[in-house]
């Protein structure tokens, strides 16, 4: 536990080290370069935007629909225990991923952010623990779950998981 916390501190320090802006606040706090004042490329977590809408930056999953990425994503989804809370998309501890209701937004960028940053009501933050390309693979898999197809017969790799008996009767 202690080691873990220390590790996190280490990580934070490392993150700070690469952000010189944050460090010499005292010396140069009155004048900010224009580029550092407003971030427009950050992923919006809310759909509500004060004022008129800005032409937003579209965040697309570079691996969307790529079968290899989806299958890798599926493997990672299991290995990194996403399946432990979200199961095969129906949810459990975490919310379902296969329906159209998304608490924190369902576009690829939102899903990505959710994995990286975590969410306050239980979603852990995987920040700094999963490389970017794997994140997008997981996002690709999560996106593929959302197809408006019944789970019974989607094409593709994820059908290989458990199919239990439908029958309610026993002999």
């Amino acid at each position: 536990m202690r080691s873990k916390r220390a590790g996190r501190q280490l990580l934070v320090c490392a993150a700070l080290a690469v952000l010189p802006v944050g460090c010499d606040k005292l010396s140069n706090s009155l004048h900010q370069p224009p580029s550092a004042t407003v971030r427009t490329d950050a992923i919006a977590v809310s759909a509500l935007e004060p004022g008129a809408r800005m032409p937003g930056i579209v965040h697309k999953n570079p691996l969307e629909g790529n079968p290899f990425a989806i299958s890798e994503g599926q493997r990672l989804y299991d290995w990194y225990n996403c399946s432990g809370c979200h199961f095969r998309g129906g949810g459990g501890i975490g919310p379902p991923l296969m329906d159209e209701f998304w608490i924190y937004g369902g576009n690829p960028a939102n899903i990505y952010t959710t994995i990286v940053e975590g969410r306050p009501n239980g979603m852990p933050a995987f920040r700094g623990k999963i490389p970017d390309y794997q994140l997008w693979q997981i996002v690709a898999y999560v996106q593929s779950m959302r197809a408006d197809k019944p789970i019974a017969s989607p094409p593709g790799p994820r059908e290989d998981h458990l199919q239990a008996s439908e029958g309610k009767e026993s002999r």
């Binding site: 536990m1 080691s3 220390a6 996190r8 280490l10 990580l11 493997r75 990194y80 623990k129 794997q134």
Partner: protein
């Protein structure tokens, strides 16, 4: 007719290799186990008999083609039938011989390993080998990867399982191969007769890195084997230098623990090789590269360039962290 090539040429090359004493650590012709020796004996019998037959048949053929005297048509037909019958009979006789020696050799190598056999579980993964020594009580279970230590002279009973696709366990110096099939448990038994280090490799095509899925078998004296076993039971060595201390810190706080386990630390990942005693292993990445700090650091930083397509992601670490982790892992003898 060219005599430079063909089976005789291959056989000649083989003979040279065998006689010149250049021994192979992954060769079925340098048997170090009871089973491999039986099979190699079988091969030499096959080889000599088949070579003789081959030479004889071709001699007949060429003699027939090139001889001067023309055959008279009548009478020869009858004789011809006799020749063919004799030939078929000889073929059948040789086959019968082969069958008898083959089946008897098969029965011998399939003999049960007996109750005193060392039981080892080998689980194939894309693309590495998980090796478990089940024991009672359960906490004497040893888990390692890509290396199997066995005592010389004691039968080894392998339980072969697969975690994903079909693999095949093959250490030619000790025995032939046996597949690891998902949903099944296969068994395989061998007895090492000589101490030595032998290499084995996955022999069933299993995807991208089928070529880099090797393992090493250490056949050791019973004493050395026991010593090794006891050492494996111990949890990972405690860091003894600040660098190693830091390495452990980095390891457990990084995503290494998502997949790897180191007994004695909070790392319990179970989808990649157990690293409790990784420093004591000879190779990395299932026999892909030698285990030394340089290779290890390279493997951690960029595993995909060593073994493209394998499941280990590159680890983004500060250089000093990378060195520390390498230092720590290498200390886990």
């Amino acid at each position: 007719m060219s005599r430079r090539s063909g089976l005789p040429a291959a056989a000649a090359a083989l003979l040279c290799a065998a006689l010149s004493g250049c021994r192979g650590i992954q060769s079925s012709l340098d048997p170090a186990g009871r089973e491999a020796a039986k099979i190699s004996g079988l091969w030499w019998l096959f080889f000599y008999v088949c070579t003789a037959v081959f030479v004889l048949v071709l001699a007949f053929l060429f003699y027939g083609v090139f001889r001067r005297r023309s055959e008279d048509a009548l009478g020869a037909r009858e004789r011809g039938k006799t020749y063919v019958a004799i030939g078929a009979g000889a073929t059948a006789a040789i086959l019968l011989l082969f069958l008898v020696v083959s089946v008897s050799a098969g029965r011998e190598i399939a003999e049960p390993a007996g109750p005193d056999a060392l039981k080892v579980q080998v689980i194939g993964h894309q693309w590495w080998w998980e090796v478990r020594y089940p024991a009672s009580p359960a906490n004497r279970t040893v888990v390692t990867a890509n290396e199997i230590h066995v005592p010389v002279g004691r039968p080894v009973f392998l339980e072969l399982l697969s975690g994903d696709v079909i693999h095949s366990f093959w250490a030619p110096n000790l025995h032939g191969k046996k597949d690891l099939i998902p949903g099944r448990i296969n068994s395989h038994a061998f007895t090492a007769k000589k101490a030595g280090v032998f290499r084995g490799q996955c022999a069933e095509f299993c995807g991208l890195q089928h070529a880099h899925m090797a393992f090493t078998i250490f056949a050791e004296t019973p004493e050395r084997y026991s010593a090794w076993y006891e050492k494996q039971l111990a949890p990972a060595a405690e860091p003894s230098t600040p660098s190693q201390e830091r390495g452990r810190q980095v390891f457990v706080s990084n995503s290494c623990v998502f997949c790897h386990a180191i007994q004695g630390t909070p790392a319990f990942g179970q989808v990649a090789p157990d690293l409790t005693h990784v420093g004591g292993r000879g190779t990395l990445a299932a026999g892909s590269v030698a285990n030394n700090p340089g290779n290890l650091a390279g493997w951690i930083a960029d595993p995909q360039s060593i073994k493209p397509g394998n499941h280990m992601p590159p680890m983004l670490m500060a250089p000093e962290d990378l060195l520390a982790v390498t230092d720590y892992l290498e200390s886990l003898k």
